[in-house]
């Protein structure tokens, strides 16, 4: 009795399934005619994930096919970047390539570099900031640098993993100021949020993540943003000086994000993607989103992006060698 009712249910189910399949007729058209994946090499909840998801949603509207955002995390970005570079060359695998692509190969974690991607466009660049606790005795970057120089090894800094982008930011700043890059020892952390928490808890002295991520804690009166490592001030933090203004140091460092596909995407594909992506960047939804999160929009076309990535790669390599992170 029980068995036969199970069969009846199965038969019905099979019939229903068949009907749905038959209703969906296969379609063949020019690019894009099936779902596109955007691979994000970083975890859900972070800035790259958030920007990747809004781009996915808006690109879907623009292209008329589903655009799925896929997190491929691990190995500090190596695994996700690998997945983008080895994706299909028909334009159905794209990804958000981040600044780490210009860093990982210098320390021998991977062979991948900017040459392994076809850029669709740069869309964001976030300068590093210098954050300290609100009750810190330092009121400017020059106070801070003087103290670090006088007491090497005493003041700890953090923001990301060992040898990560924000580690490079602080090491490069110290070196440019004529101080030993290891004078402020680096405390590895999972990311900006945990290290800011540690900063407030009193376990650290300096966090060099993007000021965007420190915004709420600054508003809560827990941290001070002493400077941004850029040539000009940030729109979201107009009162925060640049390093040049604060301490006379000519040093910029920041994270950036590029939408890209694997190397060798055909022209038919880029001819569709590049204008569609430009439209997304200019759309009100994207601009509103980026402003609300405090992410600066920086757009460059594919050719300019390729040059930007190659230059960044060279500079990062030189700095990493100079401060002793790469050999």
């Amino acid at each position: 009795m029980q068995k036969s009712s199970y069969f009846k249910a199965l038969t019905l189910g099979v019939l229903a399934a068949g009907a749905v399949v038959a209703a969906a007729a296969p379609a063949a058209a020019k690019y894009p005619d099936r779902p596109i994946s955007i691979i994000v090499p970083w975890g859900a909840g972070g800035g790259t994930d958030a920007t990747g998801r809004i781009i996915g949603t808006l690109l879907q509207k623009e292209l008329g096919v589903p655009v799925n955002v896929i997190n491929r995390t691990g190995g500090q970005g190596v695994i996700g970047h690998q997945a983008i570079a080895t994706g299909d060359k028909e334009g159905y695998t794209l990804g958000t390539v981040t600044v780490e692509i210009g860093m990982m190969h210098w320390v021998g974690l991977t062979e991948l570099g900017p040459k392994d991607y076809t850029p669709i466009g740069l869309y964001n660049a976030d300068p590093a900031g210098v954050q300290v606790r609100a009750d810190s005795p330092w009121n400017s970057v020059s106070d801070m640098l003087k103290d670090i120089k006088a007491n090497p090894g005493k003041h700890k800094s953090s923001g990301t993993s060992q040898g990560g982008i924000w580690h490079l930011a602080v090491a490069g700043m110290l070196k440019t100021a004529g101080i030993d890059p290891n004078a402020s020892p680096w405390v590895p952390a999972q990311g900006a949020a945990p290290s800011l928490k540690e900063l407030v808890a009193g376990g650290l002295d300096i966090v060099t993540c993007s000021p965007t991520e420190a915004g709420p804690l600054r508003d809560a009166g827990k941290v001070k943003i002493l400077a941004v490592m850029d040539t000009s001030r940030m729109k979201a933090f107009p009162e925060v000086p640049t390093l040049q203004e604060a301490a006379g140091i000519n040093w910029s460092m920041g994270a950036w994000r590029v939408l890209a596909g694997p190397a060798g995407l055909p022209k038919e594909v880029t001819d569709v993607l590049v204008p569609a992506f430009k439209k997304v960047i200019d759309s009100k939804e994207f601009v509103d989103f980026m402003n609300q999160r405090g992410f600066p929009i920086v757009y460059k076309d594919p050719a300019a992006t390729a040059k930007f990535m190659a230059d960044a790669d060279k500079n990062l390599g030189e700095i990493m060698k100079a401060v002793g992170i790469a050999k």
Binding site: I79, A193, E198, G294
Partner: protein, 509 residues
């Protein structure tokens, strides 16, 4: 509706009245029910987590007002954490990591024919724990967030040590094998390219292992694949337990809740506090409260045979932790767990910038969010009830059909974690290891605990030592850290002292 709003405005304040109006709209209620049903499905499927469910909701929330957007996330999250208990109790495969701690006990109840009592207890305790966490969130968020911010790596290291001592209580009958299992888990957690070294450890040249062994894939393998292997090798068909139809799921629950009211309160409190601490969430809350309950139980001899007591504690605590996790998220923009990490993004997008001022600038929005929390937990009752009723039918599907289908579910779940077949490989390898372990009396739970706590333990130890310039006394220099350290050492000493005394007594006699 107007009358209700007026009434609330006079009784509480105009803000609360307005907030009710924001929530009690058909669209909002519909969104919550839909998101809740989605959460139930995701939570009940091994390999799909509350984090993933939330990430998938993001594109949908782009087009919503702020309060419905947050309400959807909260409803989805609360349901997912409860739903993880369902496959755990029915087929001994936890749906989410937060259910892994008590899966054996819940399944033992199913084998006794008490599946409905087990799941009913899970459901009602989840609701009560969730409500408790919400009350704490609503009433004390700012001051508690302030407290949580005082925790640095020194304090977290001691918390992780306390968590490890749970393993001792999970493997009472085979302490040596339990220790091997725990350290195997800790070893697994060291694999990959960690944040500490920037150097790949134990990757055997496999590129995919740079990301380490994913905890969810490991969990599916160790519970589900080992179970399927056991089924394939079983020469004698396991007898199917006739399930008691108690008519109403909730019958007899009153007595259970009354009997364990102290457990319920204690574990809701512990769960909320653990949730508030950034980096520790519902998973850890469930382990800790389950082990504590066992230690303090008046009937320790019943544990392991399908005893309901631990279910009360762990179900209440993992749902209580959800409310807790929102405390630092709303007040300081620091996520309490991975779900709130995504939710913070939504808050920003909707112009609800997290920070202490969120309570001043947008009170009706934030009270709307609070009401959504209450409502989500109450909605859990009918939706969860329906889910239990529907899913308990799977016990009637013949096992020779059920097991292969579960296998395919596990494959897809392991694939979905990072969208790579490497997850399937991890699942297979650890499933085979777990099969051999269980056949030989090595408990699985301590290994899972080791994988969960390993990074917390190591990262916080190493970073603390960098900060303290390598002086171990640094762990006792901060007041909270010193207190936690002393508690940990005492907890570790007790079994040792008892052991020595029990050894010396027969000799003296």
């Amino acid at each position: 509706m107007d009358i209700v709003v007026q009434l609330l405005s006079t009784v509480f304040s105009p803000v609360v009245g307005k907030a009710f109006f924001v929530i009690f709209q058909y669209e909002v209620l519909f969104v919550m029910v839909a998101a809740g049903a989605f959460g139930l499905f995701v939570g009940a499927t091994p390999g799909l987590t509350a984090t993933m469910a939330t990430a998938l909701l993001i594109p949908v929330t782009f087009f919503m007002d702020p309060v419905p957007a947050i309400a959807a996330i909260v409803a989805c999250e609360a349901m997912a954490i409860f739903a993880g208990d369902i496959p755990g109790a029915l087929i001994r495969i936890p749906g989410t990591p937060a259910s892994a701690a008590y899966v054996d006990e819940a399944h033992a109840m199913t084998r006794k024919g008490l599946a409905e009592t087990a799941l009913g207890t899970n459901l009602v305790c989840s609701v009560l724990g969730g409500l408790f966490g919400t009350v704490v969130l609503v009433s004390m968020a700012p001051s508690l967030a302030e407290f949580a911010l005082n925790f640095s790596s020194f304090e977290y290291f001691w918390l992780a040590c306390l968590g490890l001592s749970c393993a001792a209580m999970l493997a009472t009958d085979a302490p040596l094998k339990g220790l091997v299992s725990l350290f195997l888990g800790l070893f697994i957690s060291t694999m990959g390219l960690g944040i500490i070294a920037g150097f790949p450890r134990f990757t055997f040249g496999v590129n995919e292992l740079l990301g380490g062994v994913d905890f969810i894939a490991a969990m599916i393998g160790m519970f589900a694949i080992s179970e399927i292997l056991r089924y394939a090798a079983a020469t004698m068909a396991a007898p199917r337990p006739p399930q008691q139809r108690i008519g109403s799921l909730f019958k007899g629950l009153g007595r259970i809740l009354y009997k364990y009211k102290v457990n319920l309160l204690r574990s809701s409190m512990m769960g909320t506090v653990i949730g508030i601490l950034p980096g520790a969430g519902g998973d850890i809350a469930a382990w800790v409260t389950f082990a504590t309950s066992r230690k303090l139980s008046k009937e320790p001899e019943k544990w392991g045979t399908g005893h309901v007591e631990g279910l009360v504690d762990a179900s209440a605590s993992n749902n209580a932790a959800l409310g807790g996790a929102w405390v630092p998220a709303l007040v300081f923009g620091i996520p309490g767990d991975s779900v709130t990490a995504i939710a913070i993004g939504v808050l920003y997008m909707k112009g609800l910038t997290p920070g202490p001022t969120i309570f001043l600038h947008q009170p009706e929005q934030i009270y709307g969010v609070f009401i959504a929390f209450f409502l989500a937990n109450l909605l859990l009752l009918p939706l969860g009830f329906a889910a239990i009723r529907a899913s308990s039918q799977i016990l009637r599907v013949p096992r020779h059909i059920l097991m292969p289908v579960i296998l395919v579910f596990c494959v897809v779940g392991a694939f979905a974690i990072n969208n790579t077949v490497f997850g399937v490989t991890v699942m297979l390898v650890l499933g085979a290891i777990a099969y051999v372990m269980e056949e030989n009396g090595y408990p699985i739970a301590p290994a899972i605990l080791g994988i969960v706590l390993g990074p917390l333990l190591e990262d916080n130890f190493i970073t603390s030592m960098i900060k303290a310039d390598g002086h171990l006394l640094g762990f006792f220099e901060r007041p909270i850290s010193a207190a936690l350290g002393v508690v940990t050492l005492i907890v570790w000493m007790i079994p040792l002292v008892l052991f020595v005394r029990s050894r010396s007594r027969p000799a003296a006699a």
